[in-house]
């Protein structure tokens, strides 16, 4: 499973490097990822393999931040919105198990924080 997250993180590193390059190759201080509670990746595993993914890349000193997005569902019978983790998928109001997913499957790069002024000598 860790291997799976590593492959995904290598993709994240490639994408962030491309975005940084398109913005004049500033030093990237932080990467912010958003991961839904019902996404197919495990945040702890993402953190575990992050160091390996940035090894020998331009992001070697970049920090990783992860924002967790709660998995919310709306009951199809009574429209009650509930937190799927707490409710175990069962509507707390009418006990229905039918719901539409409102959030929680996200897995995206939200933003990066970069140094605005960097030395003109980029080879140092």
């Amino acid at each position: 499973m860790i291997m799976h997250e590593l492959s995904i993180m290598l993709e994240v590193v490639r994408r962030v490097e491309a975005v940084a390059k398109a913005n004049g190759s500033p030093k990237v201080k932080t990467i912010v990822l958003q991961i839904g509670e019902a996404a197919s990746v495990i945040p702890r595993f993402i953190e575990d393999c992050y160091d390996a993914a940035i090894h020998q890349t331009t992001l070697e000193e970049t920090k990783l931040e992860i924002e967790i997005i709660p998995a919310m569902g709306r009951c199809l019978d009574c429209r009650q919105v509930h937190h799927l983790r707490d409710s175990q998928g069962i509507c707390p109001t009418c006990r229905s198990k039918q719901f539409e997913m409102l959030s929680g499957r996200e897995f995206q790069i939200k933003q990066i924080a970069v140094e605005d002024h960097y030395e003109s000598d980029q080879n140092h």
Partner: protein, 220 residues
Amino acid sequence: MSQIKIIEIKEGIFEQNNQTAQELRNRLKEDKTLLINLMSSPGSGKTTTLVSTIEALKNDIRIGVMEADIDSDVDARSIDQTGARVVQLHTGGMCHLDAEMTRQGIEALDPSGLDLVILENVGNLVCPAEFDTGAHKNVMILSVPEGDDKPLKYPLMFSIVDLVLVNKIDAADFFDFDLDLFRRRLAKINPEIGVIPISAKTGQGMTPWFDWLKQQVHKL
């Protein structure tokens, strides 16, 4: 002193891959070459199934194969003996193929004049499900010894495939594999999915699978 600037990206991690996959899918459709992504666990009989399939269809359909392996060419050599056009892709330690690797494999294979290209993905039920390869159809092989509870353990894989071949069906009694229960579990995850029980060893059930393939080639 340097200041910090925020660059908004707001981009799904699979977006770039999905786009490359869609471009590849469209291009192959224009060229009338069907791309099938074949996935399974290691030891499910994927290569044996593929060899029998090529042998049975090679007079009707021009078939090419891309063998993805972490690092060997054992399977590619088995396929090569059937006379089908084959390329070996090494994923270099990666547990899956993405659309860009598939695109490069297609170029190396040279699909001109081929009706069907089968991509034998890395043997694993987790990671290949996550990355769209650009295939028109996703097929997986589940072998009887793996058990009828696999849809419960790998829901993502079973939700993205169009067809499951249940291989080694001749051994169902020895492994208490309940095909009806398996179908019911599958239907909850993916009501559209097709199921064909086969035995690549005895040839049982292979004809419906060949017919399905021929139909997909003609439909493209």
